[in-house]
Symmetry: C2
Subunit: 235 residues, 2 copies
């Protein structure tokens, strides 16, 4: 009976973790839509405005898919997103682009990290949620138009590269800081990401395995370094 | 020969008018996307944010369709939109909503006027452009969620009605002022809207028939009054 009860507790913890994950991703996509649109509005040419707006609208499409899954799970989207408002908003408050090139880098880095994250977490999810995350993932990669623009900007003025590399590093640092905050505050999510349901020996209040989450961050960081190289920026 | 030359000149004037119309509509939709998104970001609840963002994203979809038609006509979307930047931007600069209810009214009034305008102009266009405008039109009407919210706000505080009726009147006044500016500046568009290609007796610089454009404005104004009644606002 004790074993069964623990299994049920595990299943509930996993379900809570999935909802946390959906809430985090949905809110992050919703805010990405608003932030990218704001950045797009500041572009000088109408073509640039439209190009970044395309990316923003794609993020809104991802938000829609994630929200639909939350509703399918009989949860309230607002309630599920609420715990992540502070961290996601803090990330954006600390990473407001100061010009168009910084906006482009942020769009590219953000899109890339989100895609990597989706790929990593897809393996941890129940089948329908996994299908949804893979659907979102397959629609990522729209930010590749940025590569050409950044390379051209660096070719025109090589000094730009140093500033943008620093900016990209700052983006990743702030994202990582907020991710760690979220992992510390949301135990079900931390456990899901660490893929380690609590054992009988662990205290009920023990956080997920920091080692496993650390490995996930390391994997995301490697992918980020590869992306920076594509832009012509050393990390 | 003179008659043939005039026919060709008429056809060119009409084609210029259609491009003007597409440029105006495309730019108006692009800016509507940015403005609505900005208004949506200021909503307090996540549900309200998402609801107005849905509307914004639909406007971006319309922009995409219109831009595609401009490209099909071998024209440059930026060049075609440029003549309308000043008027459309001036409209929004003069009608920045001061709160959420004003944002909702602006979304509803703007969406409604755009739909009416599309319906009126569809009859003046070549078949492929007409099909496109009707496609955009069929996707309008997403702003009906506003009706419920405005009625609820008036029920909660009847004094709100007077302020919002005044706001709606101001929106229509500013839209009409900018539309008249556009009609005065863009002769091919004015002629198309007036459905009256220049006769041999008219000077080449004569504007379109002000009477016909006036009738069009009157028709849009009537439809607007009907919409205001739906909201529980007398016009």
């Amino acid at each position: 009976v004790t074993g069964e009860r623990l299994d049920r507790a595990d299943a509930e913890t996993t379900a809570d973790g999935v909802l946390d994950l959906l809430g985090l991703m949905a809110y992050a996509q919703l805010v990405a839509f608003f932030e990218l649109t704001d950045d797009a509005a500041s572009a000088i040419s109408l073509a640039d405005k439209a190009a970044l707006a395309e990316l923003a609208v794609a993020e809104f499409g991802h938000f829609r898919l994630l929200r639909r899954r939350i509703v399918e799970l009989n949860a309230d989207p607002e309630g599920v997103m609420q715990p992540f408002v502070a961290a996601v908003d803090a990330f954006h408050a600390r990473t407001a682009p100061s010009d168009w090139l910084e906006s482009l880098i942020k769009a590219y880095v953000g899109d890339g990290i989100a895609a990597d994250f989706y790929e990593v977490v897809a393996g941890l999810l129940d089948t329908p949620t996994q299908a949804l995350v893979l659907e979102v993932l397959s629609d990522s990669g729209r930010s590749t138009f940025v590569i050409e623009r950044i390379r051209a900007a660096i070719a025109a003025d090589p000094r730009v590269a140093g500033r943008l590399a620093l900016w990209a590093r700052r983006l990743v640092g702030e994202a990582s800081a907020q991710a760690q905050r979220v992992a510390a505050e949301r135990e079900p999510l931390a456990r899901l990401l660490a893929s380690s349901p609590p054992s009988e020996l662990e205290s009920a209040n023990a956080p997920g395995q920091p080692g496993d989450i650390g490995r996930m961050f390391a994997r995301l960081a490697d992918a980020h370094t590869a992306r920076m190289a594509q832009l012509g920026l050393s990390d």
